[in-house]
Amino acid sequence: MPKLLNLLLAVEHGMKKPVWDCTMCGQCVLHSTGMTCPMTCPKTLRNGPCGGVREDGHCEVKPEMRCVWVKAYDRKVSLPLPTVWKEHYNDLRPPVDMQLKGTSSWVNLITKRDQQTPAGWAKRKEQSGSH
């Protein structure tokens, strides 16, 4: 089993690194963010753009780079992505679980490990309905 996990990890990283500059956060949300990785935002914002986006749609921190969330929003609107993915665009995504760094998000998806959140977060989600 560990061999299979290592293989999956290598395949996932091999695919995602060149295309999305994947940092292996282990809790992939690409499908819900217009196939744009929020971890490439210098502030690693997973819930939308900060207020510092420049008039030309570029990043506050890296002026040469287009804002990740400007790109994500354009793609969410224009790409023929499954409706169910688009519906998740405005989800309140929980804080990154730093314990998953360097693990395979595919495995974490199958085992639902990537859906585990701290007890306080989970309880609020339950009480306030779906975010």
Partner: protein
């Protein structure tokens, strides 16, 4: 007791908020001077958290000092410098001292400040931090561990309807509202059309979310050019800069611009008040407030 919450939830009154000047010197005397200047006009004032990525006396300490001097704070917590433990510690500390208004912000990047070599944190983002405040309001930390007594935070946030992607800014404000924000202060902006669209969009979906646009008092065209060139997220159209720059009396033209902005903003749906940044120009602040029909100490 949050007077800010009471006014917004139980009355139709217009609320005015401001920015408390950063404290780098002058001790408590300086705090008192600032309170004396601002208290006559504002129901609550932002205690900032290392604003523009410069270190200053801390958010919690300034909020406590303001409260001691009789001015209601809106204590900001910024995600740039603090991980989730430190953010929750600020919240628990605010609760300990009876501070109820808190504002959660993602924050400027470290590169905006005078120590750009700093490690940026952003362990939480703005919407997540708002949700964490809601979790504390329900009586536990993020982990589920009990916090007793539970806080009774009036949760505020900030949005910039003037920065791209413009259409998405409405959805982002609504997300913050779902996370628990009840009031939203807006970034300074010089595109009235974008402000109109944002307010209409937000008010149509959640009429209860109090929108507080910002107005900045300046004395010439220079700060307009500075903001346009140097502050990411703020764009000032050339014709606005020219209008002030080409006027025979720049100070007067800049004042008239601010007054127009204020009156326009107050006419929009969902807008419950204004946030005034004044760079300590006492006489213009009083003039603006009086021109908006205010008299001193209306909140006391």
């Amino acid at each position: 007791m949050s007077k800010l919450r009471d006014l917004l939830t139980q009355t139709k009154d217009v609320v005015y908020t401001a920015e408390f000047p950063v404290i780098d010197g002058g001790g408590m005397e300086q705090v008192k001077k600032n309170v004396d200047r601002l208290a006559p006009w504002f129901v609550a004032v932002n205690a900032t958290d290392n604003t523009a990525a410069h270190a200053h006396a801390s958010n919690v300490s300034v909020a406590i000092a303001m409260k001691q001097h009789g001015l209601e704070p809106i204590m900001q917590i910024v995600c740039r410098d603090k991980n989730r433990l430190a953010v929750q510690a600020d919240m628990a500390g605010a609760n300990l001292h009876g501070i109820e208004n808190i504002a959660l912000l993602t924050g400027d990047d470290v590169t905006a400040g005078d120590e750009p070599e700093t490690r940026r944190v952003f362990d939480l983002d703005g919407p997540q931090a708002i949700n964490v405040a809601s979790i504390l309001n329900a009586g536990t930390y993020l982990s589920g561990r009990k916090l007793n007594p539970a806080p009774n935070f009036f949760i505020c946030s900030v949005e910039n309807p003037f920065a791209p992607p413009h259409d998405y800014r409405i959805e982002r404000a609504l997300k913050k509202h779902r996370a628990g924000a009840q009031m939203i202060q807006l970034q300074i902006g010089y595109h009235p059309d974008r402000l109109e669209k944002f307010c209409a969009g937000v008010a149509a979906t959640v009429p209860g979310l109090a929108i507080i646009p910002s107005v900045v008092l300046i004395k010439s065209a220079k700060p307009l050019s500075f903001m346009n060139d140097k502050v990411p997220g703020i764009s000032v159209p050339q014709e606005v800069i020219d209008r002030v720059a080409q006027s025979a009396d720049q100070a007067e033209a800049a004042y008239q611009l601010a007054l127009e902005q204020a009156q326009h903003a107050l006419s929009l749906p969902g807008v419950r008040g204004l946030h005034i940044t004044d760079f300590r120009h006492d006489e213009t602040l009083e003039r603006l407030m009086r021109d908006l029909g205010r008299t001193p100490h209306q909140y006391t």
